[in-house]
Symmetry: C2
């Protein structure tokens, strides 16, 4: 049995590892186009701050461990140029030598990730314009920062990535200006959540402008509908696009957002070809359907499922799905969401109640702050449909309680009955989640 995996970051390496774990005698080849082994992409913004910490610290495992301990034939700088789904053969070019060769497969795993969308406006292919998608991007930005000591950065796009980057750059004494095309930031968050983020933007003196059209970058300036901004450094993070050209060229069917269409077993329409991670669709439990939600945890889980399915093709497991849980850090704030967001609720025509409740995060113990818990629950029965928390102190792992509640289809009546951990260093005697649930109970 021979499995070939195209792409060796999160889903690819997870699939390879699981396949070898369950079927140690099988042959598993990973063909990774870049020169980097699997790395923790979400840690990239934070690496910038630490001059002496090489970006290779983000590697999940060393090449030696992957090869020797896990027994995976992991090959760097190998570009797959074509897939023959009938002959079950991929064409490969070794980017180091230029040599081309073919690999036959029994199973093919398509795990090519996604790419940053680039701007086509003039000047945006200059060498001081960066994306922040790959480890190579990070390498380039980091070297630029430490070599050129930029003072002013223009960040195009106000999504998670650039908000994290703004936080990091500010700590590095580089002043960011954030320019966003849309009329509001963070469309998957509701107004009550966004307001907290905007308060922090103001408090930190960050210039963040919305509804801005970018005209061009000329030398050290970005020109836009909102004016001209000095830009020693530009980071563009305006969205991503699944890397599916190769897959589509082989007859692979695309689904939501141009991602590889997969069934619950992560099989594509091509015989013996699986797809997973940021290039594939993600099954959302609450929707009972696939969506596109490219984040690290789902990529790792996809990989595990695919690895299991190529090892046990007669006893496949379904990918169990996601609940759209996500979190990012913005200065002291943590900004977190799970379940359906308000736009989805409206699009689905749900009759829902929203409560937004501010609470202290601790008892009588230093270091506490406040957080805003937002619950979306079904009118009438109080079923929790979605939740967002924005605030300081422990936010992400409180959100996890609500992610668990969504997984188990709990109502706010049930959430109000939870027995959560209390001691003054960790929580008020009524945890913010219980306080919010008690407010919701009165309104559903």
């Amino acid at each position: 049995m021979k499995t070939v995996i195209i792409g060796g970051v999160a889903a690819g390496l997870s699939a390879a590892s699981q396949a070898k774990r369950l079927s140690p005698e099988s042959e598993v080849i990973v063909l990774e186009k870049s020169g980097d082994v699997s790395y923790a992409a979400c840690g990239m913004p934070y690496n910038l701050f630490f001059k002496e910490k090489p970006v290779e610290k983000l590697y999940a495992l060393s090449l030696e461990t992957i090869r020797k301990e896990r027994g995976i034939d992991y090959r760097l700088r190998q570009e797959v140029t074509g897939i023959d789904p009938v002959g079950k053969i991929v064409s490969v070019t070794d980017l180091a030598t230029g040599r081309s060769y073919e690999e036959r497969y029994d199973f093919l795993v398509y795990a090519t990730g996604n790419s940053a969308i680039r701007l086509t406006a003039p000047g945006f292919d200059d060498s001081d314009v960066f994306c922040f998608k790959t480890l190579d991007d990070t390498r380039h930005v980091k070297q630029f920062i430490y070599d050129k000591a930029p003072k002013h950065a223009v960040l195009v796009g106000a999504g998670y990535t650039n908000l994290e980057v703004a936080d990091v750059l500010t700590n590095m004494k580089i002043k960011p200006v954030i320019l966003e095309k849309a009329p509001t930031i963070l469309p998957s968050f509701c107004e009550e959540a966004r307001a907290k983020v905007m308060d922090k933007v103001k408090e930190r003196g960050i210039e963040l402008l919305t509804g801005v059209d970018i005209a061009e970058k000329a030398g050290g300036e970005v020109r836009s509908s909102a004016g001209v901004f000095p830009a020693d450094l530009v980071v563009v993070a305006v969205g991503t696009r699944p890397n599916t050209a190769l897959f589509a060229a082989a007859g692979g069917e695309l689904g939501t957002a141009g991602a590889a269409k997969v069934d619950r077993f992560l099989r594509t329409n091509l015989d013996s070809v699986f797809a997973g991670g940021d290039c594939a669709e993600h099954y959302v439990r609450q929707l009972g359907a696939n969506s596109y939600f490219p984040l690290g945890p789902a990529a790792n889980k996809h990989g595990r499922v695919i690895g299991s399915n190529v090892a046990n093709p007669d006893r496949m497991m379904e990918f169990w799905g996601i609940d759209q849980t996500a979190v990012f850090k913005f200065f002291e704030l943590s900004v977190a969401t799970t379940g359906l967001n308000e736009r989805q609720l409206q699009a689905l025509g749900k009759d829902y109640v929203k409560v937004a409740v501010d609470s202290p995060t601790r008892g009588e113990f230093p270091g506490g702050s406040t957080m805003r818990v937002i619950l979306f629950c079904q009118k009438g029965d109080g079923l929790l449909l979605g939740a967002q928390i924005v605030g300081e102190d422990v936010v992400a792992k409180r959100l996890d309680v609500l992610a668990t509640a969504i997984y188990k289809q709990m109502t706010v009546f049930e959430i109000a009955e939870l027995d959560l951990a209390y001691a003054p260093p960790y929580s008020p005697v009524w945890d913010p989640i219980l306080i919010a649930a008690n407010v919701a109970v009165k309104k559903v």
Copy 2:
């Protein structure tokens, strides 16, 4: 309608507040023996450290707010000396004036809390021997510390209270020695959890001795079976006992651990008499029975239920129960438990699997550490029966996910499918809970 409440701390004030909220026209009298309004008892150890922060900072509300905004007739220094459950009258002594009077009631709420068990060995009624149960205790300890500048403390008992006190005293440069009668500490934690606490004891250079019999305190020394220890200050925390003498004298029936026996509506055997908080039993959902688990959250919840039931006696609500969730801080460690503990599992004859898994707490982001997640799950179906986490970083609110899982009777198979929040400042891509669940899945 007139409700009299004996005791005005957690359960008492919660009951009074809820009764007035739901039935604003009713009369609610709280008779509190001490001179303090309701306070956050769990915050007491941490107050010691802050010389300039008066212990009254721990008050939940001011007397004026309780009286004016909540409309509660809250009376301090009022000792109830007798209950006539037939005539529905309590006898009261005003400790300030010595005057005695009676109050008739329609409903009586018995919320007298519990008391520290004292040692009878010689010398343990000296003025430099303290308990740590009331705000007055805290006042006395604190004044003693700042007046006398003790250098050596002997802490008798190695429960949550004295472990918290040892942490605080160490920060105040007072060297604690902990003497415990039992052969091991923390009986409700399993060996794998205790080991982490003992590692911290060692790392911090704390002397903690078990299996110790206390002989006497003589002057500045505590003499014991383990030797003689200098003691400028002694704190005894060897357990508590529900304050039920008055209740029992009126014919009130006692249950588990000598606590007031209550039904699911928190009614006692006495007509129109409710009991709640640390003087009453607590319904444990997993046991389907009452136990004694006197902690702040349950007291507040008891109070809310009782307040609701006296306001709506024709439409009473049940106390929904607890899952034995608890957490305490011990230096950098958080030590947390939920669900059935190992002794209970053994006593119940459960066929269970235990896994103890150490994981990193964060991704590539500064400040991370490790934690140990311990899961007890039912052999065969993987039902989560109990969980404990000991470690640094965010422990308590991770445990809450497992407390939620226990409430919803989740299996480790389901827990492994949770979509938990990931970003490097908060979690590795596989949260420690998911890692532990995945280990458990392979063993059940």
